[in-house]
C-alpha cells in the first residue's frame, strides 16, 4: 500500500494574507506558507485561488511556476471554480513529482471538471455530491458511479479519480459521521482512492479541540481505507497520527525516528 497522501490546505484565499498575496503577486507570504507545510510533511499543496474570474489564469500560472521552481517541482492541487485558470496552471505544470490534481468535480454542475482532468492527464477530486449534500450512502454511491463512469468514458484510470465523501461537521451533523466513514469503506472495497476536507468535522469547535477531533477522525478514516486528505500539515498531532497509522497499515516501514521523516 502506498503512503497516505496529505494535501496541504494553507494556500487558500480564505486566509486574508494569502488572498492579498495572490492579488498583489507577492511571493514572500506564499513561499513562507508553502515552506511551512512542506517542512511539516505535506506531499501535495493545494492552491486555492478562489473564483478568480478576472485574472485567474494569470494568478494560477504565477503560483504554479513560483511554487514548483522554489520547491523542487512540488506536486500541486489546483483549486478554483475557474476552469480556464486550472488549464492555464496545468500548461506550465511540471509532473516529475506527481500529476496535477484538479480540485474539484461533483456529480452535478461541476461534472465537467472530470473531463478537464481527463483531457490533461490529471487527477481529479470527485466530490460525491449532487445539488446539495447527499442524504445517504445510496445517493453518495450513485454520484460515485456517475463520476467514475464519466472519467472512464474519457479514458481516465479509475485510480486517478479521488473520491470525496464530503466530511460533515460534527456540531449539527453528528448523526451522519459513521455514514461518511462507511462510505469511505465502500470506495476502498471498490479499489478506489479517496480524499476530502477532513477538518470540516471540527468546524466551529474550540481551537484546542480541533486537532484532537481531526486526529481521531483521520485514524478512523484510514482504518476504513481513506488514501488521502486535505489537511493542515502544521497540525502536529494530526501529522503524527497519520504517520503512526501509516505504520500500522504497513504503508511505511517503522523506524524509531519515523516521526522525523
Amino acid at each position: 500500500m502506498a503512503k497516505f497522501v496529505t494535501i496541504g490546505e494553507r494556500l487558500s484565499v480564505t486566509a486574508p494574507t494569502v488572498n492579498k498575496a495572490f492579488a498583489a503577486r507577492d511571493e514572500e507570504p506564499i513561499l513562507k506558507r508553502a515552506k511551512q507545510q512542506l517542512d511539516a510533511g505535506a506531499v501535495y499543496l493545494d492552491v486555492n485561488i478562489g473564483p478568480a474570474e478576472n485574472d485567474g489564469e494569470d494568478i494560477m500560472k504565477w503560483a504554479v511556476e513560483l511554487l514548483q521552481s522554489n520547491f523542487d517541482n512540488v506536486p500541486l492541487a489546483l483549486d478554483t471554480s475557474n476552469k480556464k485558470a486550472i488549464e492555464a496552471g496545468i500548461s506550465v505544470y511540471n509532473r516529475s513529482k506527481g500529476k496535477p490534481i484538479v480540485n474539484s468535480a461533483d456529480a452535478a454542475g461541476r461534472i465537467e471538471y472530470v473531463d478537464l482532468a481527463a483531457a490533461n492527464d490529471a487527477i481529479v477530486i470527485a466530490l460525491c455530491n449532487g445539488e446539495g449534500i447527499a442524504k445517504d450512502n445510496d445517493e453518495r454511491m450513485m454520484y460515485c458511479q456517475t463520476l467514475l463512469e464519466r472519467g472512464m468514458e474519457h479514458g481516465m484510470e479509475p485510480t486517478d479519480l479521488w473520491f470525496d465523501p464530503l466530511f460533515l461537521v460534527v456540531k449539527g451533523m453528528q448523526d451522519k459521521q459513521m455514514e461518511v466513514l462507511e462510505c469511505i469503506k465502500m470506495f476502498s472495497d471498490m479499489g478506489l482512492n479517496s480524499t476530502g476536507g477532513l477538518s470540516n468535522n471540527s468546524n466551529g469547535m474550540p481551537k484546542n479541540i480541533r486537532p484532537i477531533m481531526d486526529s481521531a477522525l483521520v485514524a478512523m478514516a484510514m482504518m476504513q481505507g481513506l488514501t488521502s486528505a486535505i489537511v493542515n500539515p502544521n497540525d502536529l498531532r494530526l501529522m503524527e497520527t497519520i504517520k503512526s497509522c501509516d505504520v500500522f497499515k504497513g504503508n511505511t516501514l517503522y523506524a524509531d525516528s519515523y516521526l522525523e521523516l
Partner: protein, 313 residues
Amino acid sequence: MPFNRKPQKFNAAIKSVVIGSGDKTVTLGGENVLPFYAFDGEIKNGPKVGVEITDLGMEGEPESVKAYYEGAATMGEIAKKAAAMEGADFLCLRLAGGDPNGLNKSVEELIETVKEVADAVDVPLVVEGCKNVEKDSELLTKVAEVLQGRNVLVMSAREEDYKAVGAAAGLAYSQKVGAESAVDINLAKQLNVVMTQLGVNADSIVMNVGSAAVGYGYEYVVSTLDRIKAAALSQDDKMLQMPIITPIASETWNVKEAMATEEESPEWGSQEVRGISMEIQTAAASLASGSDAVILKHPQSVATISKMIQELM
C-alpha cells in the same frame, strides 16, 4: 487473446554508490527493478562480487584457497592475486586480527597492513573491521584517514558506533560508509536515518543488513532483503534506497557443513566441495533476494557467482 506483457514499473530507484578512484571504480546499486528482473527494465549496474582477504594472510584458509595464492608471501602480494581473481569486481580486506578476544593486533599494526594492501592494488577497496565495537571505532576511523582519496567503503558503522565511524568515514574523509544491522529491518532503516541526520550524505551509504549461512536462520535474511527492496521501490522509502552489500565468506566458511573434516563426516563427502557449495548457495540466494554486492573468498565461488550474474542480466 495475445499475451500482453506488463512490466512492473516503480517510481523509485536504488541509489548508485561508487567506490574506488581513478579509472578503477565500481558502482553498486542504481536499479529500479526487483533483483534480476531484467525483463521489467534495464538493470543499470548489476550486482558486484568482491574478494575477501584478511590480515591473517593464508593462516587457517582451506587448501584450495592456499593453492590459488601460492607464492604470495606478503599481504601486498596476496592482495594483487586477489584483485586478479577471475570475476572479481573489488577487493575486501577484513581486519580480523584486531579482535581483542583473538590476536588483538594493535591499530598501528593493522594500519600498516591496510597501507600495504592499498599500495599494492588500485582496484576498488572495501575495508572491514574486526567486529568489536570499541576497537572498530578507533580502527575504522584511522582506516578512513589513511585511505583518504581512495574512496573506499568502510565497514561498518553500527548502532553503537555510527557516530565515530560515520563521522570519520562519511564526513571527515569522504569515504563511503557501511551501515550494519543484524537482520533487523527497522534498525536498518533507523541507522540510515540517524547517519543522514549526522550529516552523512545518503548517497555515501551502503547497507549491510546482516547475513547467515544457508540453514542458519537464513530465511530471516531473505525476508529482510525482500522487505527492504519492496519498501525502497514500491513505497519509495528514501531511507531504504541504499544499495546492499552482503559479506558471505565470513559466514559460510565457519559453519559445521564447511568445517567438518571428511574423517568426522564421511557421509558428507569432500570438505572442500561442501565449503564452496555453501558459499555459492548463500551468495546466489542473497543476490536473488536483493543484495547489490556479495563478498566471497574461494576462486571457484567468485568465478561461478560472477558467471551467474552475467547470464541473468
